[in-house]
């Protein structure tokens, strides 16, 4: 037996009141508090997405400030320090508060659905991850009101971040914010790895997992092993700043290059952490709209795993200019060239999937093809960095800026938006307007290339990164202006997207439109359950017989390999629309107050660390936070994951509430390990470890 879902049960006639622990168990299923206490992976995923999208707007605003400042020589919009703050926060926001959490949004929402589970392995830890991410972001941005934003670059190179050169609290907020989001990602990684390994539906061997779930699993392993390295780097920096340690202090024998090693040993896997979920997304989108199976499923999976391993052996290509000697530069040049191979394999497999397919260029497909083409350009300029003499020429110029925006915007962000257009009907029960979606795509592909292609030229002309202005007569004026114009076209594209969301919502509400379970005639298991997904995900445990099992319930192939609709097609489609029958219910774990309290405690404790540097007494704040955290974790451990008489989802209630669009009520969700009883105690135990 694997993690077979508990079958539906009959509702008790007289439900008893909910047992109470230290805090009354939250019982609301709608409204504000239900979101605060929700542990359902779908709600957590939506909260991740909405929060990250908000940060995307903030980070985008910062990008526009940068572009306005650099539009023409001697820009006066920002002074040097403000410019440092803005580009630091642009990078930090986009990496840690936008691309990573948007990936997390998809992984949280989709992994349990794609493996056929009722929830992730540890629903409360999942909520904790989200709240830590949110509080980490708030912590970073609280610096706006508390003396200035971080200004040392997203890489925070030593010794510029030392107390000598950065005496303010800016860098302290950077350290604290990244530590908090780091805990969030580590907890999430433990949780999602366990989910992928342990909670697959019967018949779903590892090599029947959808490619998105596979890429998510690789991402989570990268997170699991990369985050402790940056955590230590940040700890060492904190000890330098707060307690006078000498890790990165050259005056006393410390070595600033150690920071670079630790940072990039995290930083390069981080690149793959950001791009892998997007690779997974397009691996779902392209087959669906090519109406063909993914070309080379296993090769796709193995190349993902290969990238996961090789991603650990290339970090020194960020440091070719440091002067580490010919041997290490040669070794890392070669490994950097090699890592292009599995990535190239993926590109060719996507092209192979589209080859002779019956292509449908929906918005989602356009964005996916956008990733394939734009990422290829970014990947090729990446290969040029592996040639170290060339890299010596380009390092710290706008050429690098061009490269990583092609892979992270042209790659990751395009992929994520492919995913948004693709799964929006599944998540919110509304189909985004295709016409506006295509306008969005074309604005972005034009704006994106206008913004970042000129950076290649500027870099080759020698324009350095991170300069807040440049004099006249450098010959950089024209392409900088083009780039600024492009950035506003990107902003316009994003506005079109938000207008689309708003219009779609209005139209669906006005005309009472609903969306069928499988509007794209897609392949993954998540399409075999109603849109939006009800609290319990699946009524009964799906049984898996093939990769893309849902597709095989609808289609088969004739001898010539042509697609044939099965006689059962309509039956399968109808089965996907089924909800629980009235009176039936599913036992789901209960919401909890503790995740948000634990996250808030860490948030408060971190302020003590920041201000402890100014006055030792402020460490009392940290003590208070830790005390609250310990008490919370003990209460958490004692709270059963599922209240015995709680969280039975009524089919009718679910139908009424669950079909309402996002932002309004959905029936309360969340579940344990989908199979047996989740011992609440040990789940708390591992959380204690995670927090420690």
């Amino acid at each position: 037996m694997t993690s077979v879902l508990e079958p539906p049960v009959l509702l008790p006639e007289d439900p008893r009141p909910i047992a109470s622990g230290a805090l009354r168990r939250p019982a609301r299923t709608d409204g504000f508090w239900s979101w605060i206490t929700s542990i359902d992976h779908k709600r957590v995923g939506i909260m991740y997405g909405v929060t990250a999208m908000t940060f995307f707007v903030i980070g985008g605003f910062e990008a526009l400030l940068i572009r306005l400042q650099l539009a023409s020589p001697n820009g006066r919009i920002l002074d040097a320090n403000a410019y440092n703050e803005v580009f630091t926060m642009h990078g930090t926001t986009m990496v840690f508060l936008v691309v990573m959490p948007l990936g997390a949004a998809f992984m949280n929402y989709l992994i349990p659905l794609q493996v056929g589970a009722r929830d992730v392995a540890f629903p409360r830890l999942n909520a904790l991850s989200y709240w830590l991410f949110l509080f980490g972001g708030l912590f970073l941005y609280s610096s706006v009101f508390l003396g200035g934003m971080p200004n040392g670059g997203w890489f925070g190179y030593a010794p510029n971040t030392s107390i000598v050169y950065s005496p303010g609290h800016n860098i302290d907020f950077w350290i604290g914010g990244l530590l908090i989001t780091g805990i969030a990602s580590t907890v999430g990684a433990v949780n999602l790895i366990t989910t992928c390994l342990n909670m697959r539906a019967p018949g779903m061997g590892l090599f029947r997992m959808p490619v998105f779930t596979w890429m998510a699993l690789v991402t989570q392993f990268l997170l699991l092993f990369a985050l402790p390295v940056i955590t230590i780097a940040l700890f060492l920096l904190m000890f330098d700043r707060n307690f006078g340690a000498n890790f990165f202090n050259p005056a006393n024998g410390g070595d600033p290059v150690l920071w670079q090693h630790l940072f990039w040993l995290f930083g390069h896997p981080e690149v793959y952490i950001m791009i892998m979920p997007a690779f997974g997304i397009v691996s779902e989108v392209i087959p669906t709209f090519s109406r063909k199976p993914l070309f080379g499923y296993k090769v796709m999976v193995f190349s993902g795993i290969a990238i996961g391993f090789m991603g650990w052996g290339v970090w020194v290509h960020h440091m070719f200019a440091v002067g580490l000697g010919p041997v290490s530069i040669t070794a890392f040049s070669i490994s950097t060239m090699f890592i292009a191979v599995p990535t190239g394999v993926k590109i060719f497999n996507w092209i192979g999937t589209m080859w002779k397919g019956s292509l449908r260029f929906t918005s989602a497909m356009l964005f996916a093809v956008g990733l394939v083409s734009m990422f290829t350009i970014g990947g090729l300029s990446g290969v040029t960095h592996s040639v170290s003499p060339h890299d010596r020429q380009q390092t710290d110029t706008y050429y690098i800026v061009a490269h990583f925006h092609y892979v992270l915007f042209g790659g990751a962000v395009f992929g994520i938006f492919a995913g948004i257009y693709f799964w929006y009907p599944k998540v919110f029960g509304q189909l985004l307007d295709e016409r506006l979606g295509k306008v969005h795509f074309w604005l972005w592909i034009v704006g994106f290339n206008l913004t970042f292609a000129p950076h290649h030229i500027l870099g080759l002309q020698g324009m350095p990164r991170r300069i807040y202005t440049y004099p006249e007569g450098t010959g950089w004026d024209f392409w900088n202006m083009v780039s600024t114009v492009g950035s506003f076209i990107i902003a316009l594209g994003l506005l079109v997207f938000f207008a689309n969301v708003r219009r779609t919502d209005k139209r669906h509400k006005r005309d009472h439109l609903t969306v069928e379970a499988d509007p794209w005639d897609a392949r993954g298991l998540e399409w075999s359950t109603p849109s939006p997904v009800p609290a319990y995900n699946f009524i009964e445990s799906p049984e898996i017989h093939a990769v893309d099992d849902w597709w095989h319930r609808k289609y088969t192939e004739d001898e010539d390999g042509r697609m044939q609709r099965l006689d059962d097609y309509d039956k399968a489609k109808a089965s996907a629309e089924e909800h629980l029958k009235p009176g039936q219910a599913v036992h789901l774990p209960s919401p909890s107050f503790y995740p948000i309290i634990a996250a808030a405690a860490i948030f408060v404790a971190m302020f003590g660390v920041v201000y402890g540097r100014s006055a030792g007494a402020n460490y009392a704040i940290t003590g208070l936070g830790v005390l609250v955290l310990v008490c919370t974790l003990i209460a958490w451990a004692l709270e059963p994951s599922t209240e015995p008489d709680d969280a039975l989802v009524d089919a009718d209630a679910d139908r009424l509430l669950g079909l309402a669009p996002a932002g309004s009520a959905q029936a309360e969700l969340g579940s344990g390990d989908g199979g047996g009883d989740q011992p609440a105690l040990t789940s708390g135990g591992s959380s204690g470890g995670g927090a420690g």
Binding site: L197, N198, P228, I232, N252, G254, A546, V630, L638
Partner: protein, 213 residues
């Protein structure tokens, strides 16, 4: 539907059905979620300590002339004794699990308390050691070697401290009847953490204290 796929499918289902016959938890791996999570977490911890140990290795002889570095102040016999105490706590941890597996809650509580006590003794030794070193002129600020020493061993000590709290919490839970022998796996998982922290100390003691400069 491809016939091959169906065949594979049923094979797998059978295989899994077989696995459930051995009273494994209802998961794909046959290992409970909690245990998989703890192993994953410990994997992450390896990199945490790995980064710290590498840092120490890089810095262990970096000290401006005339400043006290760790190798000048080590008291190997003292630290050997406290290391032995910590290693013995792994034995008592095993005995606690074994007792709980035999449904002997009383003995389990005794051995868990003993483990916590040994851990606390080790911590006491570490605090004493730190105060001696500071008196001999080696503080966090002295040189990169001293910084790396205090952060690495302090980080390990914090892990021991969290472990002691966890063990005490388990004792209280058993006492209050909230943790019963059917869920002996909880003790096993706490034990995984405890043994891991012990193993890390074996590495730290070797690398930090015993390896000559």
């Amino acid at each position: 539907m491809a016939a091959v796929a169906v065949e594979h499918g049923s094979e797998e289902v059978e295989h899994q059905a077989e696995a459930s016959g051995h009273a494994h938890p209802p998961t794909n791996t046959g290992i409970s979620n909690d245990k998989v999570a703890m192993w994953a977490f410990l994997g992450s911890e390896c990199l945490l300590f790995g980064a710290l140990i590498s840092t120490f290795f890089l810095y262990r002889s970096r000290a401006p002339l005339g400043t006290v570095k760790p190798h000048d102040v080590y008291d190997i016999p003292f630290t050997s004794v406290s290391s032995f105490i910590l290693l013995m706590s792994s034995l008592t941890m095993v005995l606690a699990l074994s007792a709980f597996n035999r449904a002997d809650s009383r003995r389990a509580m005794v051995w868990l308390s003993a483990t916590a006590l040994l851990g606390a003794t080790f911590l006491g030794g570490q605090i004493y050691e730190f105060t001696v070193f500071i008196r001999e002129g080696m503080t966090m600020k002295t040189n990169p070697a001293s910084s790396a020493f205090y952060v690495l061993t302090g980080f390990h000590g914090t892990h021991v401290g969290i472990g002691v709290l966890m063990l005490l919490a388990l004792v209280i839970l058993i006492r209050k009847g909230r943790l019963t022998p059917e869920r002996a796996e909880t003790i096993e998982i706490a034990g995984l953490y405890w043994h891991f922290v012990d193993v890390v100390w074996v590495v730290v003691f070797t690398v930090v204290y015993l390896l000559p400069l």
